[in-house]
């Protein structure tokens, strides 16, 4: 695969799966400016590992692995944030009007808020569950057994449902 081919395929993969990057960045990063940095970091890391992409996995699985790993590491890696901010002046993904997505009154807004409040690993599990990934695929992405995936999802999901109903009834 020559360089032009490679970058074209990469662009098309990112274009097709841009929702993954957006949802991960949105769930792990509340601040809009930081979110742009995170998106850029995710894309750079995707590009860096594109050569080693293993076609036994779906593109979406590969993207979730990288995106979630980068997002979880993002705040613990103090130094990279400055580097990325300096790299580009604006975002690669143009985010729509923030209120449109983060209206706390809507069901989606409430769910997004609740997801963003989860612990890093629980958040990753829930994101994958809500994307209707199979337990097998989730266990491959997270690195825990399928049984554990099922148990944890159940526990988090029940907590979310209770919290959701409580907020809706207020």
């Amino acid at each position: 695969m020559d360089k032009i081919d490679k970058s074209d395929i990469f662009l098309s993969v990112v274009q097709t799966n841009k929702g993954i990057i957006y949802k991960v960045a949105n769930s792990y990063c509340k601040n809009v400016e930081d979110r742009k940095d995170l998106v850029q970091e995710i894309i750079i890391q995707l590009w860096k590992s594109f050569d080693n992409y293993d076609d036994n996995f779906k593109y979406s699985t590969w993207m979730y692995r990288i995106s979630l790993n980068v997002a979880i590491s993002f705040y613990r890696k103090e130094t990279s944030r400055k580097k990325i901010s300096n790299l580009l002046t604006d975002g690669i993904i143009n985010f729509p009007d923030n209120d449109y997505f983060e209206d706390k009154e809507t069901d989606l807004g409430i769910l997004q808020q609740m997801i963003s409040q989860l612990k890093d690993l629980d958040k990753a599990l829930m994101l994958l569950y809500l994307e209707e990934k199979s337990h097998k695929e989730i266990s491959q992405i997270i690195g825990i057994s399928e049984t554990n995936v099922a148990t944890k999802i159940n526990r988090i999901k029940n907590g979310l449902k209770q919290k959701f109903t409580k907020i809706k009834n207020q």
């Binding site: 662009l11 949802k23 850029q40 080693n52 690669i92 997270i142 690195g143 554990n148």
Partner: protein, 225 residues
């Protein structure tokens, strides 16, 4: 509330994302081409002041050492031995620091979350092991100014006792710090302050996250059995 209801709520954003989320292809191309910058270059940019200070100190030490060897004495003496050991320890510390930064900045994220995050946390925690080497130089700051010409033959007994006590206490301090440079001490303020320069904050976060992952794995064992 049904399980499918949560999923359906979540799905509401898919159509919106498809319709309104635009990829800026120009910036995307720029980003992936910019990546070609060498990792060392970006590292130097990140930790410039620390790296410059370290290099400057090593140059001073190196210069003092060579000056002493070539202009005063080629024989081993207090100054040459002390400065040589301080230099070696600092070179080791500096190379560990650079290597470590390089690792953490070039980690391959293509792996399972638990695997990669544990690897990353371990790397961040290992900075403590590297930092402890630096403690070994401490006693030599109490010996470099001595000279074979006047010590111990030309000084009084009181000075000899003072020098022995001073060096011994620094040896003990060095040993104590070396021994106590461990992740378990991250909850102690003095230790956090000591490793602040080596990225203490991220080491703390790494430790917390490592514990969280250990808990995750423990659950894993419990549910599998």
């Amino acid at each position: 509330m049904e399980n499918t209801e949560l999923i359906n709520i979540w799905k509401q954003q898919n159509a919106k994302i498809e319709k309104t989320l635009a990829i800026n292809e120009l910036l995307l191309k720029e980003a992936i081409n910019n990546k070609a910058k060498s990792s060392l270059k970006s590292l130097v940019k990140l930790k410039t002041s620390g790296i410059v200070a370290f290099v400057f100190y090593l140059l001073i030490l190196g210069h003092a050492l060579f000056y002493a060897i070539f202009n005063y004495s080629s024989a081993l003496n207090y100054f040459i031995i002390s400065v040589a050991i301080i230099t070696v320890v600092n070179i080791k510390g500096f190379s560990d620091y650079i290597r470590h930064l390089n690792w953490t900045n070039n980690i391959n994220y293509n792996g399972s979350i638990i695997e990669i995050q544990q690897q990353l946390s371990r790397l961040q925690l290992s900075i403590i092991d590297h930092a402890k080497i630096m403690c070994l130089q401490i006693p030599f700051y109490t010996t470099f100014y001595l000279s074979n010409k006047w010590f111990p033959q030309e000084v009084g007994f009181g000075y000899i006792v003072f020098q022995v006590l001073l060096t011994s206490s620094f040896i003990y301090l060095s040993y104590w710090l070396y021994k106590n440079h461990k992740p378990e001490n991250l909850n102690k303020k003095w230790f956090r302050n000591m490793i602040a320069g080596s990225g203490g904050k991220s080491v703390m976060k790494a430790m917390e996250f490592y514990k969280e992952m250990e808990e995750f794995k423990r659950d894993d064992k419990n549910t599998s059995t």
